[in-house]
Every structure is written in structure tokens, then in C-alpha cells.
């Protein structure tokens, strides 16, 4: 069963003081996410990621379209009890301590009194806040608030977790812990939908990603597929103080860094390049095919729609036609 089904969800706001005009925040969005999947929603700032999450959480109302979570309408009370949400740069009631806040949210989520306190302590431990559980949140740093945010999102053991920029404000250790937490959620069979613009996180965590830009979904694809292909080039790293002229003659794009040289050249010149290194008595460090990266996919999808259209037409030999929806 699809955990999240989004059908032509669209949002525009009226802006302007005297002459109101519509500003499109999200163009018709169609997306389906299976249960147990970790989905990364990628896009630059202002792309429409937060708007999509707010629409799914019922915080803003769609101009058109609909969405279903676990097969039911998104404003259904049961659905809300099965959903966890971490907003972007979360801010909580700062008169409460972390423990009090989680207890409050636990009550609002309908968690039974029996076992709630134990679950709160478990969550505090899981995000590394056991020692500061009794401190009022007004004394918390941004990173600590982010951890509280993560704890409240998974407190009630939801089946679907929405995280808006979960790594934001965290130090490298904190980011690592969040990555581990998302991996744990995956192993527990949860569906995770998270927005980010940190591609390495998405590449490490997601089954699939979607790229959104200027309110439009530009593409969706499985991370494994997007990064498995090679580009017909190889990368050779070897010890040397200079780039051998023969290597440049093979079409290598090389750079020297200290005592090492990094060269990228067409795959068909691999043997010739190795021969050059042997002849020059240069020690090989590594040789690997250059794989497609998520970053390239992302950059490609962020290019203006017209350019994408031209590429697509070129690939398929189709004449120019209107582009609707998106696919990998």
C-alpha cells in the first residue's frame, strides 16, 4: 500500500496590497511513496519543499488537489496519530523542559498514561538529551532543539515520519546521529519523507529522491539507479609531482595536489594511461570508473525547464510538446 499519495496537489497565495495577484508556491504535484520507503525531497531554498510538507500536515490548505496518507484523507484524526512531523527550524514552548514537552505532546497524541513516561525517557536517551531533560528549553542551543524536535516526531511511534530539513543546525556529530536515527526508522519499517538540500545525506539514506524547483517537481528516481551508471570515464590517482605530457595527450583532465595527481580520462585510454605510468615509474594509488552522482542529477534537474525540455526531446527524438508531471 502507498503510505503517501499526492494527487495534483497545488498551492498558490494571493500577494500584493491593492492589486492581489496569485503567487504559485506549488505547481500540481503527483507523487506516491510506498510504505517502508525513505524518500528524500530535494530542492534549493524556496523550492516548495516546506509548502508541500505544510500541505500534508494540514497547516496550509491546498488550492487544488488532494493527498492521502495510509489510505485516508490527511485531516483524519487517525492519520494524525500515525504521523510524526519535525518542522524546519523548530521552536517549542520554552517554558517547558524537554521532558515536560514530550509528555505534553504524548498526551496530545493520545498516548496512554501507562508507559508514556518510560517512552519519553527512551526518546530522550535516543536523541542524547537524558542529562538535560529537566532543563527549560529556553536554555537549549539550536542543535539541542533540533534533537527535541526529532524526539517529539517519533515519540508516539508513528508509521509515517515527515522531517523538514532534519540536519539543519546540527554539528557533524549531530548529523551523523540523525542519519543513524533515520536508518533505524527504516529498519523499523517506518516510512520517512524528508526534505533536504544536503545531497550527501539524501544519497546515503534514501531509497528514492524527488527534485523540486520553483514549485515544480522536476524528477523522481531511485538513488541506486541514479548513481549506478558510469559515465565512460575513469579517474586515476597516482604519486607524481607533475602531469606526464603523454597522459595529457590521451585527453586527461588532470590536476596536481601536493605529491599526487588526479586525472580523469576516457575509459578506452585506460591501458594506454597505465602504460604511461609504468614507463614514467609513477606509483598508482587508485583507478576507478567515474560514476553518476546524485549531485549531477540534481544540477541537471535544476536547470531551466526549457533546457530540460530540449534535452528530453533530443534524447527521445520527440518534437517539442508541453511537459506535464515529472519522471526520472
Amino acid at each position: 500500500m502507498a503510505a503517501i499519495e499526492i494527487l495534483d496537489l497545488e498551492k498558490s497565495y494571493l500577494v500584493g496590497f491593492w492589486r492581489k495577484r496569485p503567487k504559485i508556491a506549488l505547481r500540481p504535484l503527483c507523487l506516491s511513496i510506498e510504505e517502508g520507503e525513505v524518500f528524500g525531497f530535494l530542492g534549493p531554498n524556496g523550492a516548495g519543499k516546506t509548502t508541500t510538507l505544510k500541505l500534508l500536515m494540514g497547516l496550509v490548505f491546498p488550492t487544488a488537489g488532494s493527498a492521502r496518507i495510509l489510505g485516508r484523507e490527511m485531516d483524519d484524526s487517525w492519520v494524525k496519530s500515525q504521523v510524526g512531523f519535525l518542522p524546519e527550524q523548530p521552536y517549542f514552548y520554552d517554558h517547558l523542559s524537554a521532558r515536560e514537552l514530550l509528555n505534553y505532546y504524548g498526551r496530545l497524541s493520545g498516548m496512554p498514561a501507562k508507559g508514556r513516561s518510560a517512552r519519553v525517557e527512551e526518546m530522550l536517551g535516543r536523541v542524547g538529551l537524558s542529562d538535560s531533560a529537566g532543563v527549560q528549553l529556553r536554555k537549549f542551543s539550536k542543535g539541542m532543539l533540533q534533537r527535541v524536535g526529532l524526539a517529539q516526531a517519533i515519540l508516539h511511534n508513528p508509521r509515517v515520519v515527515f522531517l523538514d530539513e532534519p540536519m539543519s543546525g546540527l554539528d557533524p556529530m549531530g548529523r551523523r546521529e540523525v542519519r543513524d536515527l533515520i536508518q533505524q526508522l527504516r529498519h523499523e519499517g517506518k516510512t520517512v519523507f524528508f526534505s533536504t538540500h544536503i545531497l550527501s545525506d539524501a544519497e546515503a539514506l534514501c531509497d528514492r529522491v524527488g527534485v523540486i524547483h520553483q514549485g515544480e517537481l522536476r524528477g523522481v528516481g531511485a538513488v541506486a539507479d541514479l548513481t549506478s551508471g558510469t559515465k565512460g570515464t575513469i579517474e586515476i590517482i597516482f604519486y607524481a609531482q607533475h602531469v606526464p605530457a603523454a597522459l595529457t595527450g590521451l585527453g586527461a583532465d588532470a590536476s596536481v595536489s601536493g605529491t599526487m595527481v588526479n586525472a580523469v580520462l576516457p575509459e578506452e585510454h585506460q591501458e594506454a594511461a597505465l602504460e604511461v605510468l609504468r614507463r614514467e615509474r609513477m606509483k598508482l594509488i587508485s583507478l576507478a570508473p567515474v560514476r553518476n552522482s546524485l549531485e549531477e542529477y540534481y544540477i541537471q534537474k535544476l536547470r531551466p525547464t526549457d533546457a530540460l525540455q530540449a534535452d528530453s526531446d533530443q534524447e527521445s527524438g520527440r518534437p517539442e510538446q508541453s511537459r506535464k508531471g515529472a519522471g526520472a
Partner: protein
């Protein structure tokens, strides 16, 4: 009461307490004890009248200021700080949130009024050295003041559901002042005819009738409060607050939380 409303109300109350809203009681205590001592020194036979007048007016003023300044931020502050997002993403309906906030604030005011009422009675005991039967009506006046708070809270919540905090404060305070002149407005409407008369009547009945809820002077003179007035005032305050809250809910239900 729906348990989610209760949890939201309790959290609102706890927030007010921890944000030191009840510290106003210190100012109130200082004002009243100072007044009681002064009145004891300079007044002859009107000590009770002065203490009841001053005490109840202070209770009303302190409470109304708290109701307005907390009430206008009840919803808008939660939207601005985005604390609302993690509440409404749970099985909490928007109307439950609004009603919970309302009960939380009125609860704070009831507790505040309770302590201020204690202060008034202590001051009365200080100047009169004993309680009299007519002092019971002071309780009635305090009850009417609490009814006023219900209406002020509901109005502040209503305005804050669509307006900025500053404008909400202005609107609510303006209605409080106009509402205290409601009886005069009604009198004016009775002697005016035609369109002006119709308009004056509409305004007179639309603004909250705070003057009917103000029996401070009556009670200070030792007059009783008719049971019928207690009944009608209770009904009026509950209906008026319920309508203002319902309007706030209707607006808030449709609001995009940007």
C-alpha cells in the same frame, strides 16, 4: 471536557504562571495594603466604601489588562513562533486548540482573581475589623468581574485570529471602554429615530454590555444584587463569549499557517 482541550488549557495556564504573569499580584497587594492603611488614617465611616470601590476596580483593571495582553498573543504568538505546527500535526483539531487556549487564559484569570479577592477581604477586615453580611455581595461583584474577563478573553482571541497583536489590543480595549458605556448607548438609541436610531440600536446591542456587569458602586454602598441579574448576566456573558469564540474558530479553521 475533551482531554486535549484540557491539556492545551493546562499548558496555557502553566505558561502564564512561568512567565510570571501572577507577579501582578504583588503590585495589587502593595496597592491595596497601602490604600487600606491610608484610608484607615484619613476616612471616617467610609473606609469600607473606599476599600471595596478601590479593590474591585483594581481587580477589574488588572484582570482586563492581563486578559488583553495575553489574549491577543494566544494564537498569533503560536503562529509566529511556529509552536503551533507540532500541535496541529497531532490529532488536535483547530477548534480544540482555540477553546483550550481560551480556557487556559480564563483559568489563569480565575486563579489571579481568587488571590486578589483574598486581598480585598483582608483589606476590608483591616479597616472594618469584622465582616458584615453585606460583604457577601462583594463576592457577587467579583463573580461579575470574572464574567467580564470571559468576554474580554474571547474578544481578544477573536481579534487575534485575524489581526496583528497591536490592532487586536486596540480593538479589544476600545470595545471594553465602549462596552462600559453600553447602557448609555442603549439610552441614546431609544431616543433616536430613523436610520440613526436603527444604527445606534445595532451598535448598542452588538458591543458587549460591560456596564450591566459592573456593580462595584452598588456593592460598595452595601446594596444587594438581584438573583435575576446574576442569572441574566451569566447567560449573557456565556453566550457572548461563546459567539466570539465560535467566530474566532471559524476564522482560524480557514487560516493558512504560513
Amino acid at each position: 471536557m475533551n482531554s486535549r482541550i484540557g491539556h492545551i488549557a493546562f499548558n496555557t495556564f502553566r505558561e502564564a504562571v512561568r512567565d510570571r504573569v501572577l507577579y501582578n499580584l504583588i503590585a495589587f497587594a502593595l496597592l491595596l495594603s497601602g490604600a487600606a492603611i491610608l484610608v484607615g488614617e484619613i476616612s471616617i465611616d467610609i473606609e469600607r466604601l473606599v476599600v471595596v470601590n478601590l479593590g474591585l476596580t483594581a481587580v477589574s483593571l488588572f484582570g482586563v489588562l492581563i486578559a488583553i495582553f495575553i489574549g491577543i498573543g494566544l494564537v498569533s504568538k503560536e503562529i509566529d513562533k511556529r509552536t503551533l505546527y507540532t500541535v496541529l500535526s497531532r490529532p488536535v483539531r483547530r477548534w480544540e486548540f482555540v477553546v483550550g487556549k481560551f480556557f487556559g487564559l480564563t483559568g489563569t484569570l480565575v486563579v489571579n482573581t481568587f488571590f486578589m479577592a483574598l486581598g480585598v477581604f483582608l483589606a476590608l477586615l483591616y479597616v472594618a475589623h469584622k465582616f458584615e453580611k453585606m460583604d457577601l455581595w462583594v463576592l457577587g461583584a467579583l463573580y461579575f468581574i470574572v464574567l467580564q474577563f470571559l468576554i474580554v478573553c474571547a474578544l481578544a482571541l477573536f481579534f487575534s485570529s485575524f489581526s496583528t497583536p497591536l490592532m487586536s489590543a486596540v480593538f479589544t480595549f476600545a470595545l471594553f471602554v465602549i462596552g462600559n458605556l453600553a447602557e448609555d448607548l442603549r439610552g441614546f438609541a431609544r431616543i433616536t429615530h430613523g436610520t440613526e436610531g436603527w444604527l445606534a440600536s445595532a451598535i448598542a446591542y452588538l458591543v458587549p454590555n460591560f456596564s450591566a456587569l459592573n456593580v462595584v458602586s452598588q456593592v460598595a454602598h452595601g446594596d444587594s444584587i438581584p438573583g435575576r441579574l446574576i442569572f441574566y448576566n451569566t447567560l449573557y456573558a456565556l453566550l457572548y463569549s461563546a459567539m466570539a469564540i465560535a467566530a474566532a474558530v471559524l476564522i482560524f479553521q480557514r487560516r493558512n499557517l504560513k
